[in-house]
């Protein structure tokens, strides 16, 4: 374990987080929320001091191993969430530290599960000059979605000086943080890859901001909503998510379509956008994962639309609601334009299944990932064939390439670990809190897949505040495990990694 490098990167990370928080401070200043400035100033000062101390001395040996990459990512995200929750505590929005930690982890992991009740949102919309003005804090809350979407270490990599990158094998860090069964650089250097990814991310976010402004949102609403959409997070700035948009937006249906489509776009593998940028449009369109993903979205939308026709009684409402909700669940965002808790069972069941499928690899979405499921299904089929034809050699093909045996095994291992963690958490929170099966099951599903709202007591109209502190910690860990795809945290907490010289 390269402790010096771990310390150095953590230091860099804290400085970056301090800079990112600075934006929220500006928002607070703009809205004149002077009573709340210390909510940002205190954590920023702490991060800056610790960050500078940690990165004062550059490590001589910068080489990182695969394992180091996992550990750095796992630890960074916990550190990130620890400092990130301080503004909520200090401002008094979420005075309880564990609640605030839950909310922040939920933000960074782009889950969007909230402990905030409707009355907390009143503080956001309170007059700016009043003691209660919380626009800066809520901006930070939505901004965590955006930071966590692409990954904060990827951002650190994108801005790290080139000479620090030499010989340090930071690709392991990138691999550990970016979602998907197999992450590779799209250009020769990690730094450039990270920079291109972020550039695509920023441009797409900006496009959405502009469209939402056309839809009648003000700049603040539009920015916060776009941040949550881009990271496929799902923190809204209204207590009822997107049901009424606070009643102030001129063209709510237009906004719903824009958000729905952008959630879909942000859950597509970003490498495909790079292919499009480099002119290989046909290659991007023929991506196997994309075709499966689009197929799943269209089929689910069709089924839910048919099922919802009895609820809404007309096609346009049914299609809009169905597409938005399918998009929000499969992209693992977790906005709501209606309380789908009250929808017919077929739609609810389908949405619950979509939670597990999740988005494409290499996107900002969570879940098991479409590509992983394709590989797992094909790999299982190959194993079944092998049972009856022991001599036959059959390769699993994905994206027109043979998948290496290790990748297939890794995928199986991932799914087994995922199921194990899922059921352990399900059992645990059922024992501790004793909620009904629907609530407990969908809580864990919504957290580990980074969706946000679940069914039953944690439906879109409710929140997670009622859970006991210990369950909130378990659910926070589930969110981190889901976002970082299990292995970084497992390595972080396995003693052998730390004992080893």
């Amino acid at each position: 374990m390269n402790y010096k490098m771990l310390r150095y990167i953590t230091g860099q990370l804290l400085i970056v987080e301090c800079l990112l928080m600075f934006l929220s401070l500006i928002v607070s200043l703009v809205y004149g929320e002077f009573a709340n400035l210390e909510a940002f100033i205190i954590p920023m000062a702490a991060m800056l001091i610790i960050g500078l101390l940690f990165s004062l001395k550059k490590p001589e040996n910068k080489t990182l191993k695969v394992k180091d990459g996992f550990v750095i990512v796992g630890l960074s995200w916990i550190v990130l969430s620890f400092f990130g929750c301080l503004p909520f505590v200090i401002s008094g929005l979420i005075p309880n530290f564990i609640d605030a930690f839950f909310e922040t982890v939920s933000g960074f992991t782009t889950t969007g599960s909230s402990v905030l009740s409707a009355s907390d949102f009143d503080k956001l919309w309170a007059p700016a000059s009043a003691e209660l003005g919380m626009r800066g804090v809520f901006f930070w809350r939505s901004f965590t979605n955006w930071i966590g979407g692409m990954g904060v270490l990827v951002f650190v990599l994108a801005i790290m000086p080139q000479q620090d990158m030499k010989s340090s094998r930071l690709v392991h860090v990138m691999r550990a943080e970016m979602p998907g069964p197999k992450v590779d650089k799209i250009v020769a250097t990690v730094r450039k890859t990270a920079a291109i990814m972020y550039a695509i991310y920023v441009v797409m976010t900006a496009a959405q901001v502009v469209l939402l402004l056309f839809g009648g949102m003000d700049l603040y609403e539009s920015l916060c909503t776009s941040f949550s959409t881009a990271g496929t997070g799902g923190f809204a700035v209204w207590s009822d998510s997107m049901v009424s948009f606070g009643g102030t937006v001129a063209h709510p249906n237009f906004c719903i379509w824009v958000i729905g489509i952008f959630m879909f776009l942000f859950s597509i593998n970003f490498n495909l956008y790079f292919l499009v940028l480099t002119g290989k449009i046909a290659a991007a369109l023929f991506s196997e994962e994309l075709r499966w993903f689009v197929g799943i979205v269209l089929a689910s939308t069709a089924i839910v639309t048919a099922n919802l026709y009895s609820v809404y009684g007309n096609i346009s409402d049914s299609v809009r609601q169905a597409f938005f909700q399918v998009s929000t669940v499969i992209s693992t965002t977790g906005f709501a334009t209606d309380d789908f808790n009250l929808w017919p069972n077929i739609s609810k069941t389908l949405l619950l299944i979509l939670m597990f499928i999740g988005a494409c690899a290499g996107s900002t979405g969570g879940g098991i990932k479409v590509s992983r499921l394709i590989i797992a299904v094909k790999g299982t089929w190959a194993e079944i064939r092998r049972m009856v034809r022991p001599r036959e050699i059959k390769k699993v093909f994905f994206e027109k390439k043979a998948v290496e045996g290790d990748t297939v095994k890794g995928t199986f291992a991932y799914i087994v670990a995922y199921c194990f963690i899922f059921f352990a958490s399900f059992l645990f929170i059922s024992l501790i809190d004793g909620q009904n099966i629907e609530t407990s099951f969908s809580s864990v599903a919504a957290c580990i897949n980074n969706i946000g709202p679940g069914l039953g007591e944690v439906g879109p109209a409710s929140n997670y505040a009622f859970y006991s502190p210990i369950s909130k910690i378990v659910l926070s860990l589930d969110m981190l495990l889901g976002r970082l795809e299990i292995f970084p945290l497992i390595f972080l907490f396995s003693p052998s990694v730390w004992r080893e010289k």
């Binding site: 034809r389 001599r391 036959e392 050699i393 059959k394 390769k395 093909f397 043979a402």
Partner: protein, 457 residues
């Protein structure tokens, strides 16, 4: 002509044999001095020991003044490099053997930019021949003339064969066909048959006709059974790697059997649609488990001739419609023929014929000034017979003469097999004449025809 041959493998030696017999002066370059001594003693050639891609070795072999250099070492890259160097030194024509499937797509590039005049690929030729045989299973051998307008098929006369004991003179009337039996092989003897020749059991006969006439004939005498749908390929050399995609593209079901697990992985990756089986094909149990019984065609191309022969013989004890065996050694090929297990494919003979055709074409233009260029050349019956295709040029003096009158002037053992005039196939008889710009298929035991004029005694 001065010819340099780099590499003395099976193709190399085969070429040395054929080319030196045709009266060219041949220089052989090989790294193995024992091999060089061996060929120098066996054939009338000059030998140089060394690396064919070395400038000094090439100079010693006389590359500056040579007409043709033929590089047929086992290494594709060495062959290409040898040819490029020779070209720079002054060799007029270069022929390289390139076998790697990955280079197949860039042959055009290699000819135009690397200065390689001809690329021969024995395995590719063998795969093409094999695919032809699978599509036309009644034939043991199938050659094409004039872009496929005329074909020559070899069929084996087994017991109870419909053509058994039939005199040639009755062939046309009995089978109601225009097709021509142009050659017969009986034991070691090759006969260009006259009307009184009677087809016997054990013979192999060669028939030339248009594809349609051949198909009609086969249907009439009941040789065409059901079409083959599935193919089992045993062994994974380059032939199978050319063959499998061709067959898969034509909609055949392909099963490949290979012993080496790593190679199997590679095959499974290359050909996702094929069924790849990892197992030892010389184990009868493996073949039976994998359903050799009832397979349409079985192609055996392991690296070892003997193994191939044994596997094919085993396959012939099961119900397999067509067995095609790759055999490199001419002796074993004969043995396989007499065992009657099916067709043989000999890759290096296929490419030798291609090289010879090219050389004779060069000799025509270069020395004698003939114009009736060889279009196609096939070596048949272990090289004893050639089938050639010529264009009738304006310097051919015997146009307009009926074949009946022309025949006495011809050299012995020469037969005009077919004439293609303005896109139509003419089956020659006594009144047929040769005309300017005809294309003529000649079957002959005389093995150094360079020009149509050479058929005249």
């Amino acid at each position: 002509m001065n010819v340099i041959i780099v590499g003395n493998g099976s193709v190399g030696e085969n070429l040395i044999d054929f080319i030196s017999q045709e009266g060219h002066s041949v220089t052989v370059i090989d790294e193995d001095s024992a091999e060089v001594t061996k060929v120098v003693n066996k054939y009338d050639v000059f030998g140089v020991c060394g690396n064919g891609a070395s400038v000094s070795v090439q100079k010693e072999a006389g590359a500056q003044n040579c007409d043709v250099i033929i590089a047929v070492t086992p290494g594709d890259e060495l062959n290409l490099l040898s040819c490029m160097i020779a070209k720079q030194l002054g060799a007029k024509h270069t022929i390289a053997r390139v076998r790697d499937p990955r280079y197949l797509k860039q042959t055009g590039f290699m000819s135009s930019y690397l200065g390689i005049d001809m690329i021969v690929n024995p395995d590719f030729e063998a795969a093409r021949e094999t695919a032809r045989l699978i599509r036309f299973p009644a034939a043991i051998k199938l050659e094409k003339f004039a872009q496929g307008q005329v074909e020559m098929v070899e069929i084996h006369i087994g017991k109870n064969h419909p053509l058994c004991d039939l005199p040639i003179i009755d062939f046309k009337s009995k089978c109601n066909t225009n097709a021509l039996i142009c050659m017969a092989e009986r034991g070691d003897e090759v006969i260009i048959p006259g009307g009184d020749f009677v087809i016997r059991e054990g013979d192999s006969i060669f028939i030339t006709a248009s594809r349609k006439d051949i198909t009609d004939l086969f249907v009439r005498i009941g040789l065409i059974g059901k079409q083959i749908k599935d193919v089992m390929i045993i062994g994974s050399d380059r032939i199978s790697r050319y063959l499998a995609p061709a067959l898969l593209g034509d909609g055949f079901r392909v099963k490949m059997i290979e012993q080496n697990a790593a190679v199997c992985e590679e095959l499974a990756e290359l050909f996702p649609k094929a069924t790849v089986i990892c197992g030892n094909a010389s184990d009868p149990d493996v073949l039976d488990d994998e359903g050799i019984d009832g397979t349409g065609a079985c192609v055996v191309t392991t690296p070892n001739d003997q193994t191939n022969l044994l596997i094919s013989m085993f396959a012939s004890t099961r119900k397999v419609d067509k067995i095609i065996t790759k055999i490199t050694s001419p002796t074993l090929a004969k043995l396989s023929d007499s065992a009657g297990v099916g067709s043989n494919v000999t890759p290096h003979l296929l490419s030798s014929a291609k090289v010879l055709r090219y050389l004779r074409g060069l000799a025509n233009k270069g020395e004698k000034g003939y114009k009736s260029e060889i279009r196609t050349l096939y070596k048949l019956a272990d090289g004893k017979v050639e089938a050639l295709e010529f264009d009738v040029a304006d310097d051919f003096e015997f146009t307009g003469i009926a074949l009946r009158d022309l025949n006495p002037k011809l050299k012995k053992n020469i037969l005009i097999g077919a004439i293609i005039r303005e896109g139509a196939v003419i089956y020659p008889h006594g009144n047929t004449t040769l005309e300017f710009s005809d294309r003529v298929v000649v079957i002959t035991k005389v093995t150094n025809l360079c020009d149509l004029g050479d058929i005249i005694a």
